[in-house]
């Protein structure tokens, strides 16, 4: 019993010591609260539209007829795209696209209306870019809609002239329709899928880097013997006490984000909300563990920091939210598993978003717990480095 109280006392002492260190330099405040608050504000305000609206496109109208003008009117009525300019030739429009002023354009050929009426089936040319995928795809999707509406318009006129009934006209025009349901994202919002992983990705990145920094800085300043002494000689007490204040701050930030995203803004999830809290807790803990692992592996601040930085930035790509991990080459699929954020993503999708229950995602939960064992691999090495200070500090 006295042993345990002793341990708590030591941890508390280290905790108080860390608190003083944190208040001594702005970098600690910066690396915890400022970066993450800034990122949240940045992402949420940048993508406040959810889905980009009024993507700029152009038009080359060689026909200038009733038909082409009504098509242009239809395009401007769409939410997704907006005609910002008219061009006199294909070349001019293409150059505007190369300049990045527009993401696509439609060319109405000369004699469009006349040929359409005479049953010559003139072709409508739509051009878009995939060099910018999001706006390019939106331009494509809206062009597609417009082209079908245009066709339907011409056909409806002919069918109506024959006296066909309205419901039958719809069936004639489009015998099959698709009713698309985007699960947990009813407005197909890009912001939801991006921010749900990007912010936790930045959180994980900050935790890894700050953990390396705060332990490594003591090694560099040769203050680790004092730290161990405060901790009663136990490296576990030292690490727990030292990282506890950070861990608490990051947990509060993580929880606030989850509440903000899923409760206040209302990003949809089918599972219970507490699953997100568990997942983010595991993300915070496993990221700390990865940080300890890095500084234990290279007990030199600058080396550990360089390595940890290069690793943690990769995590965002390897989470698989934009480009699916399943489509990467097999070695990369394996590589992706060693990032806490990848496991977070999988648990989030299965457990919280789709309400799969633990049955489908226990592997990933276990995966996040395995990260927690990483520090034990380097504990001895780190303790030696802390006592002997036998690594270069520059």
């Amino acid at each position: 019993m006295s042993n345990r109280t002793n341990m708590f006392n030591c941890i508390l002492k280290v905790f108080r010591r860390e608190e003083k260190i944190m208040r001594s330099r702005p970098i600690y405040l910066y690396g915890t609260i400022l970066v993450l608050a800034f990122s949240a504000v940045f992402l949420l305000t940048l993508m406040y539209q959810g889905l980009p609206q009024k993507v700029p496109v152009g038009v080359v109208d060689m026909d200038n007829s009733y038909l082409s003008r009504s098509a242009i009117k239809q395009i401007n009525a769409l939410q997704g795209i907006e005609i910002v300019n008219r061009y006199s030739s294909f070349r001019e429009a293409k150059e505007a696209m190369q300049k990045g002023e527009i993401y696509g354009f439609i060319e109405f050929p000369e004699g469009l209306y006349k040929d359409a009426v005479n049953g010559l089936r003139p072709e409508l040319q739509c051009y878009y870019t995939e060099a910018y995928m999001v706006p390019g795809t939106l331009a494509y999707r809206n062009f597609f809609t417009m082209a079908n509406v245009l066709n339907a318009g011409v056909r409806r006129e002919t069918l109506r002239a024959k006296g066909t009934d309205e419901a039958l006209i719809m069936a004639q025009l489009q015998p099959i329709t698709i009713d698309t349901h985007s699960i947990c994202n009813p407005y197909s919002s890009y912001a939801i899928y991006l921010i749900s992983i990007l912010w936790p990705g930045i959180l994980s990145l900050c935790i890894i880097v700050m953990t390396v920094f705060t332990i490594g800085y003591e090694l560099k300043m040769k203050t680790t013997p004092e730290l161990l002494e405060t901790a009663g000689g136990s490296i576990i007490n030292a690490l727990v006490g030292k990282l506890l204040p950070y861990c608490l701050i990051y947990l509060v930030l993580g929880f606030s984000f989850e509440v903000l995203a899923y409760k206040i803004i209302g990003y949809p999830i089918m599972g219970p909300f507490w699953t997100m809290l568990i997942t983010v807790t595991l993300l915070v803990l496993s990221s700390h563990a990865v940080g300890i692992f890095f500084i234990g592996l290279f007990p030199v601040l600058r080396d550990a920091l360089s390595a940890a930085s290069l690793y943690s930035v990769l995590g965002i790509s390897m989470s698989g939210m934009t480009f699916p991990v399943e489509m990467m080459i097999p070695p990369m699929q394996g590589f992706a598993q060693i990032f806490p954020i990848r496991q977070y993503y999988l648990v989030y999708v299965k457990w919280a978003m789709l309400d799969s229950g633990v049955g489908e995602c226990w592997v990933n939960l276990l995966g996040m717990c395995i990260f927690l064992l990483l520090p034990f691999l380097v504990l001895n090495r780190l303790q030696n480095a802390m006592i002997k200070l036998n690594y270069p500090t520059k």
């Binding site: 190369q98 993401y103 870019t129 489009q174 939801i192 920094f213 360089s306 290069l310 480009f323 080459i329």
Partner: protein, 395 residues
Amino acid sequence: MRDFKFRNIKTALSQMLMITWNEIRCIFKDSGVLLILIIAGIGYPLLYSVVYLGESVDQIPVGIVDECGDSQSRSFTRKLDATREIELVDCVNMDEAIQMMKGRRIHGIVVIPKDFTQRIGSGRQTTVSLYINMATFFIYKNIALACNYVMLDEGKNIAIQRCSAQGLTEHESLVAVEPVPNRMTILFNPGNGFASFFVPGVIVLIIHQLIFLAIGMMTGTRREENENRKLSTEEDPSKKKVYRYIIGQGAAYFFIYAIIGTYILMFVPRIFGLPHYASAWDVYRFLLPFLLAVIFFSQTWAIFIRNRETGMVMFLFFSIILLFLSGLTWPVSSFPAFWKYFSYIFPATFGVQGFVKLNCCGADFALISKEFIALWIQVIVYFVTACLSYRYINK
């Protein structure tokens, strides 16, 4: 008098060269800076290219619940299965499909209703339900595209059959069904590849970030080793000649990145078959102001970096912010005004946009004059601020 001026220029030049030489020596002596500047400079572009080597997202498993199950509905599902994007997985009922979806074994569900054939047969409209998980953008996009394509194609066939049944000729049926056909053409990145879209921009960002971190590390180390957090060493020029120091030091990074930049921008896209429309001359013409802007920009920030490691801790997360500010993922046209102007601060914004236009869109140099001029303005502004910043530090 003229002679005096000439001598002045000569001393300035020799002094700058000495500073450059000294800086290069320091870089190669410092394993941390070397790791960032050269090892990461060589390895990171390769790594990102390999990560996205898959390029396209094909054969996505999608569940099919065919409640109708006759020849008409099977023709529809066969067409779905035949698309490049989708691979159908048979599900007995909706419950099974949902369970598979929850385990991420399938990423979408197509439900064909019981009365599918009956409704088509009686000339009414039938609705196929599609459920897609939007957790991964490219999976969502490709499933939706494939399904829409098959829906329209199958719908067109049915409509043509109906017309033929009414005694129209083939051409008449086509005119009746689709009086104005359309052709969709992708002008740039026609393969719709993810690597071809993402990597050309990211490698420019990598150059920006690595130079920034390396210069930050170097200045941080110098200020740390100096008792008064100053930057002066014995090679330093007097306070009034700060520009010599800025140019001399900058030249070191410029020379190193003229070489590594060539590798990143010229060789990496060719190795991995990514778009590389820009000519060497255009690449170098654009690289010149980009590198100068990045270097002077990084030197300006020295004022905030008092320790070797602070730069890394402070600006690492900015890589992600800069990626968004460059307009590669989120279109600039949808930026709120504040963030649009904010993005003008960073050379990366113009660098990424300029290179993507040159390399992926095959733009002539004249078409990227906006970015080119913006970078030169940054070069001038950041040169002045870098001088001010160094003067302030050494005050």
